[in-house]
């Protein structure tokens, strides 16, 4: 049974309806065969029994006709009428022969009937020969009495025999026909029975099939339908038992399971998504509100900017004029910087000379310092001398004291010498102080000279640097001049550009206004979106997961 479950629904239907078709075909064949048999028996009835009966009746009619004609010939005296009747007799004879032949031909299988027919035919032949060979010539010969006796005698006997046999044959044929009809009825009854049996079997089979298919296909589908109804009500917690069937229903159940899984997952995600959407839409709404206010601010800012651009445009015009004068100035500056270069070279040469002279000065000061030292040595000697003079004067005064009154004059001289010695000492001290000052001044001069030399060296260096710088400056100024020319061109372009910018700002202004309007629309759209998000969240929450 499992194989049938695993069969596809198409296969199942194919098998069920195939079986039905087979049964139907069987019924049809049975019916056809039965009907064919009935038809055949009816045909037999028609062709043989009815034909035989008819032919026998015709035969009797013609026999009657012929006897009547013979009698008519006897009765009449006119030759023409006799000939007419003769012709009729001949005609009827031919037809009788024909009918006889047909009867024999048809019934040569039936021994009994054929024997009777042969008998009939023999009597008839005798009858006919007697009539043709004796009666007719007698009539023509006018021997009517003879003919009449003949006809009423033998011929009538024969005629009676023929009629009896014909009637007997007719009855026989009738009996045969009745048998045939009965056979046919029996056959048709058989067919009806067969059809009834087959139909019953077929109906039972069909019922079984319906029940089975309903159990196999409809029941799981109904269960599925119930589940789907719960699903439709938003209950995603439904569970469908797994099925290992491989037919469409099995795959449908599996697919449905997968679908529910996915649906559950998707609904969960949708739930989350709806939450996110709700919060996001709230944020978007807030942002859009901000953007709307921002757009309004932008609009006003753009208006201000437009005014500013107008001012900038005028400024650019002024700048363009200025730039032209700057370019001219730059050319002049380039020439000046060349002159500056030359001057710096001269300055460097001058510095070199100053350095040489500084060296000379340094040497002179050195000599001066050395001479000052020599002088100070001399002063030491002079000081020593003054000291000794002083002592001498003191000793002289002592001697003068010892000499008493006579030494008084000498004492004065000694005093004078002493004061001279002191003066010379003081002078020496002064000179020494001055010499010290000179030495200090010399040292200071020396230091100043040294610093001067260093300064001059630095000056030379700086002059060199200045030269380099001025050369660089000259180059830069040249570049600046070129740049100024380019700037002049650029400035012109800038002016043109500023015009375009002004135009663009106008456009931006319009766009900004449209922006504001658009943003307001966006705001309302965000509002709608927010509501939609809320709604969606509500909807999503209807699903039980």
């Amino acid at each position: 049974m499992n194989w049938f479950l695993n069969l596809s629904t198409r296969g199942k239907l194919f098998v069920g309806y195939g079986a039905k078709l087979v049964f139907m075909t069987a019924i049809m064949i049975t019916a056809y065969l039965g009907i064919s048999a009935i038809q055949e028996s009816q045909q037999n009835l028609y062709r043989r029994e009815f034909a035989d009966a008819l032919d026998l009746m015709k035969l009797r009619v013609h026999d009657n006709g012929t006897r009547t004609a013979v009698l008519a010939m006897i009765v009449t005296t006119k030759r023409a009428e006799q000939e007419t009747w003769h012709q009729d007799i001949q005609q009827r004879g031919k037809e009788i022969g024909e009918i006889m032949r047909r009867l024999l031909e048809r019934n040569h299988g039936n021994q009994h009937l054929a024997g009777r027919l042969e008998e009939l035919s023999a009597i008839r032949d005798t009858f006919s020969q007697t009539r043709d060979n004796q009666v007719i010539p007698l009539i023509y010969a006018g021997k009517l009495e003879q003919a009449k006796s003949l006809v009423m005698g033998t011929q009538y006997e024969r005629y009676k025999q023929v009629r009896a046999i014909a009637r007997e044959l007719g009855d026989e044929v009738e009996e045969q026909a009745r048998l045939s009809v009965a056979d046919s009825e029996r056959k048709s009854l058989q067919v009806v029975y067969a059809i009834a049996i087959v139909g019953l079997v077929f109906t039972l089979f069909g019922l079984a099939m319906v029940v089975f298919l309903s159990r196999v296909i409809a029941t799981p589908l109904r269960a599925l339908s119930n589940t789907t109804e719960r699903l439709a009500l938003g209950d995603l917690t439904v569970n469908i038992p797994p099925d290992n069937r491989t037919d469409e229903v099995g795959s449908l159940i599996r697919t449905f399971r997968t679908m529910i899984e996915k649906l559950r997952k998707t609904t969960l995600e949708i739930n989350e998504g709806a939450g996110v959407l709700a919060s996001a839409s709230a944020e978007i709404l807030a942002t859009t509100t901000q953007v709307a206010s921002g757009a309004a601010e932008t609009s006003s800012a753009v208006s201000q900017t437009t005014v500013t651009v107008e001012e900038v445009k005028q400024t650019a015009q002024l700048a363009s004029q200025k730039i032209k004068s700057v370019a001219d100035s730059a050319q002049k500056v380039a020439q000046v910087s060349k002159a500056g270069c030359k001057s710096v070279e001269e300055a460097i040469e001058g510095m070199q000379r100053i350095q040489d002279q500084m060296e000379t000065i340094a040497e002179s000061i050195m000599r001066l310092s050395e001479q000052g030292q020599a002088i100070s040595e001399i002063f030491a000697t002079v000081n020593d001398l003054a000291e000794q003079s002083n002592l001498l004067a003191v000793n002289a005064a002592i001697e003068a004291t010892k000499a008493g009154e006579q030494g008084k004059g000498f004492s004065v001289v000694a005093h004078e010498i002493k004061s001279l010695a002191e003066q010379s000492k003081q002078a020496t001290a002064q000179v020494r102080a001055i010499l010290g000052d000179i030495q200090k001044a010399t040292s200071a001069a020396m230091m100043a000279t040294e610093q001067g030399t260093k300064a001059v060296e630095a000056g030379v260096k700086q002059s060199d640097q200045a030269g380099d710088s001025i050369r660089l400056l000259a180059d830069s100024v040249n570049e600046a001049a070129q740049a100024a020319t380019q700037i002049a061109v650029s400035s012109h372009q800038q002016m043109v550009g500023m015009d375009q910018v002004a135009l663009a700002m106008q456009n931006i202004k319009q766009a900004s206004l449209q922006n504001v309007a658009g943003t307001q629309q966006a705001e309302s759209a965000a509002q709608n979106l927010h509501e939609l998000g809320k709604k969606l969240k509500q909807l999503a929450s209807q699903y039980k997961v």
């Binding site: 000291e387 000793n395 005064a397 002592i398 010892k402 004065v412 005093h415 640097q465 001025i470």
Partner: protein, 213 residues
């Protein structure tokens, strides 16, 4: 252009110096040096007048004083001292001092004065005066009496002066001991006059002579 900025003041400084004026001043200095030993007439006159005044004053003082003593002034630790010039033989720079071992602190050493060996004493030790370092500017006053010749170390020699006796005041009553012994008096200008005779006959010094015997 900018780099020339710092240089310009350096140039300007020498330019601001008036070389002409400096040359003129140097010339004047040269002239002054050359004519330093030839004082002008006015200078000569002034010097002569001062000398005349000096001489006139000296004479006046001499005549006014009745009794005077001649003293030799000298400096000991910034204080002025004086000794009667009659006890002084001569003054002499402190040269070739040879220190003597095993002598009291006040004996400085001995010197060779033109072949004569003299002992030199440091009287600062007696008066508790602060010591100065010995230099070749120190002088020795050579005292001479009938019995002995003695050198006294001084920081510097002031000169010979005559002082009226009336100007000399007795020594201060606060001074005692050796100071009072050697002190003769003090003048109005706070010159301390030492008594050389007492100094030379003082036993402390003489005792010193006996020790080497």
């Amino acid at each position: 252009m900018n780099l020339e900025g710092p240089e310009s003041p350096k140039r300007n400084i020498p330019m601001s110096i008036d070389w002409r004026q400096i040359e003129r001043r140097l010339e004047e200095a040269q002239v002054a040096i050359e004519h330093a030993w030839e004082p002008t007439a006015e200078e000569t006159k002034r010097i002569l007048r001062e000398r005349a005044k000096g001489l006139a004053r000296e004479h006046g003082q001499t005549e006014l004083a009745d009794e005077r003593i001649e003293v030799v002034e000298f400096i000991l630790s910034s204080e002025r001292y004086a000794i009667e010039s009659r006890t002084v033989r001569e003054v002499y720079p402190l040269e070739n001092l040879a220190q003597l071992p095993c002598t009291p602190a006040f004996v400085l050493g001995i010197i060779n004065l033109r072949g004569e060996i003299l002992s030199v004493i440091d009287i600062k030790k007696f008066f508790d005066l602060p010591e100065n370092e010995l230099t070749n500017l120190n002088k020795v006053i050579v005292l001479q009496s009938e019995k002995m010749v003695l050198g006294i170390l001084t920081d510097a020699i002031g000169g010979v002066r005559s002082i009226p006796l009336a100007d000399i005041q007795p020594s201060l009553p606060t001074l005692t001991g050796i100071r009072e012994e050697f002190l003769k008096g003090i003048t109005s200008d706070r010159t301390i006059i030492l008594d050389a005779d007492k100094l030379m006959v003082d036993k402390k010094i003489i005792v010193e002579e006996q020790v080497p015997e």
